[in-house]
């Protein structure tokens, strides 16, 4: 399972970086979305007990109950999902306005603030 997740995370990161290096703003944003999914899966793997043993949940004997996953990473992922959702909405609106102002989807044409 970890191997499968590792391949999935790697593919998500690879795809995200490929898309972000394209010149199109829309592809750039899609790359950002893929990137956030990759990170969410990465955090998910970090909490499955494979690397560190049990979650900090114990029964009356001080032993972890069987079949309980680490809830903290899931809380972290939830937070990260909400944040990336909000940011994606904002960057889409921003790209739309930039497209209206500049009239193109090409990042190379958005260089007016870089010139001397």
């Amino acid at each position: 399972m970890v191997l499968l997740l590792a391949i999935a995370i790697g593919s998500l990161f690879g795809g995200a970086i490929y898309l972000m290096l394209r010149r199109s703003v829309v592809k750039l944003i899609l790359g950002l979305v893929l990137l956030s999914h990759g990170v969410n899966l990465l955090i998910f793997v970090m909490g499955d007990g494979v690397r560190r043993g049990a979650p900090p949940i114990v029964d009356a004997q001080g032993l972890p109950p069987p079949g309980v996953a680490d809830p903290l990473v899931q809380a972290l992922i939830l937070t990260a999902i909400v944040i990336s959702f909000g940011l994606t909405a904002f960057v889409l609106a921003l790209a739309y306005r930039a497209n209206q102002a500049v009239g193109t989807d090409d990042l190379d044409d958005m260089a007016s603030t870089d010139r001397l």
Binding site: M20, V25, L28, L32, L35, S36, V39, L42, I43, V45, M46, G47, R51, R52, P56, V58, G62, L72, V73, L76, T79, A80, I83, G86, L87, F90, V91, L94, A95, R97, A98, A101, V102, M110, A111, S112, T113, D114, L116
Partner: protein, 505 residues
């Protein structure tokens, strides 16, 4: 338990909410904003005194015992940064009252400023690494709004780049948090620091540390991650640029200090040569970039990059004295850089452009503006008795004392180049003869002059009261580097692991 640590978070949040609700009554909304900024300023001065006399202040969010919940910790570093942030926010709010187009106010400019203050204050006070990430997002959200508010073509282009590169930095931060949690199994900074020593594969911690360096470095605009800064910082209104220059990159620098100075001290020793190399490159490339520019705000933007190099140099010296010197310098540069943006913005207001070629003759027409500008650049270059001298002196003393001669020489040389590049603005804007008839240009009102002048006066007073400030920053540097003391303050004398074990039994 010091629950008052939540005051600087509640006050801007409340102020922002009320300012939105009372948005139509401009005076009421402005009063709310001013009140909450003044509340933060007063509180942070009190906190500065409290930390100075009684040591670290700790509060546990929700009453959870230490390594399980979110801890809020104020030590010398946090208190100084909080205080400077409130001072800058007060100056920015005052400057905005006088200069900003009323349309901005309708689109919630002041609430966004307060949310920025909220995010920054939270980042300075939190003792939890994931919570730090959340505060980063809070302040980034507010900054995205501020940088694009107005919607000119330049702002949209610059804002898009600013946003995308910051999102990549945040993602790296999140990855580093996840990896760190996977390795040490905790997010509380004190607990992380304690568990760092017993990690079975120390190599992976170096990888995590590099990830943090990338994440915070891209926020702090170190070379080679600074590109977003000069392409975006000159596009929004001057007040926004000034507060960004004072706060945003410095939050990245603060996080570097916190994570490497307190939490990952072993990794700091590993990465110290790399940090010094980055520091030197950042200083030189930043100042060279500034020398090539012909626009007041772009020159100042490149100087932000250059000054960050000094901050990183303090970190790269990897000692309590180095951190203290870097902190002293950072607090100084936050104030002076914002002051220069305000004064440069006043010149921009007069001429209607930030390009320096068409300007000229301002020293004769606005002598007060010229005097404060000149004091500001003297302070930035590091001429006694202004505050910049003592920051740089402390850095050079520690650098030479630790045998880091090369970086000290680069730092000293960069000071001269800084002064040279600032003199270019002085010559073009203030000293040279005016090309055109100046009698029709608007005069500078007190509202345009006062915020910048007040900050320059702060720098002057800070230079005159340098011994107090050096004492305080030494205390802050010692506290920052004192890992055992930090753990003891957050989790109790036995340490976090003992609390953790006993809670599980």
């Amino acid at each position: 338990m010091a629950n008052h640590l939540f005051i600087p978070l509640v006050s801007p949040l409340l102020g922002a909410t009320l300012a939105v609700i009372f948005g139509r009554q401009r005076l009421v909304a402005r009063a709310m904003v001013l009140a909450s900024v003044l509340c933060n300023l007063g509180y942070s001065l009190w906190l500065l005194w409290l930390v100075g006399t009684q040591g670290r202040q700790v509060s546990q969010g929700g009453g959870w015992i230490a390594p399980f919940g979110i801890s809020m910790v104020a030590d010398g570093l946090g208190a100084i940064m909080l205080c400077v942030a409130s001072v800058l926010m007060l100056a920015t709010v005052a400057y905005s009252f006088f200069t900003l187009d009323p349309a901005y106010e309708r689109y919630f400019y002041y609430p966004l400023l307060l949310l920025l203050l909220l995010g920054v204050s939270g980042a300075f006070l939190t003792g939890d690494i994931f919570n730090l990430y959340v505060w980063f997002e809070v302040l980034l959200m507010a900054s995205f709004g501020l940088i694009t508010l107005g919607g000119t073509r330049g702002q949209l282009e610059g804002g898009l780049k600013y946003m995308v590169l910051n999102l990549v930095g945040s993602t790296a931060f999140l990855i580093a948090c996840g990896l760190l949690y996977g390795v040490v199994g905790t997010l509380n900074m004190a607990h992380i620091a304690e568990r760092m020593a017993s990690v079975r594969e120390p190599g992976i911690l170096t990888a995590v540390a590099c990830m943090f360096l990338f994440a915070y470095g891209s926020k702090a605009a170190i070379v080679p991650l600074y590109f977003w800064l000069p392409t975006s910082y000159h596009t929004p209104p001057v007040a926004v640029t000034a507060i960004f220059s004072g706060l945003l990159t410095k939050v990245g620098a603060y996080s570097l200090y916190r994570v490497f100075g307190t939490v990952m001290q072993n990794e700091l020793q590993h990465l110290a040569p790399l940090l010094l190399l980055i520091a030197g490159l950042t200083m030189v490339i930043g100042v060279l970039g500034a020398m090539a520019q012909m626009n007041v705000r772009r020159i100042l933007s490149f100087h932000i990059v250059s000054q960050i190099g000094y901050t990183i140099m303090g970190l790269g010296l990897a000692s309590a004295a180095g951190l203290a010197a870097g902190l002293l310098f950072t607090a100084h540069v936050m104030i002076v850089k914002a002051a220069l943006f305000f004064i440069g913005g006043a010149a921009e207001q007069i001429y209607g452009t930030a390009e320096i070629k068409p300007m000229g003759g301002l020293a004769r027409r606005e002598p007060a503006l010229a005097i404060f500008w000149f004091l500001g650049i003297l302070s930035l270059a590091g001429i006694p008795p202004l505050s910049g001298f003592f920051g740089k002196l402390a850095l050079l003393q520690v650098g030479v004392g630790q045998g880091a001669y090369l970086i000290s020489a680069v730092a000293a040389g960069t000071s001269i180049l800084t002064f040279f590049s600032m003199l270019k603005i002085w010559n073009e804007v203030f000293w040279k003869k005016a090309y055109a008839d100046m009698s029709k240009l608007p005069r500078v009102g007190p509202g345009l002059l006062l915020p910048g002048a007040a900050l320059v006066v702060v720098s002057l007073v800070a230079g005159l009261a340098a011994s107090t400030l050096v004492d305080y920053s030494t205390l802050a540097g010692t506290q920052l580097f004192d890992q055992a003391g930090y753990i003891g303050a957050v989790c109790g004398a036995d340490g976090c692991e003992a609390v953790y074990e006993s809670a599980l039994r």
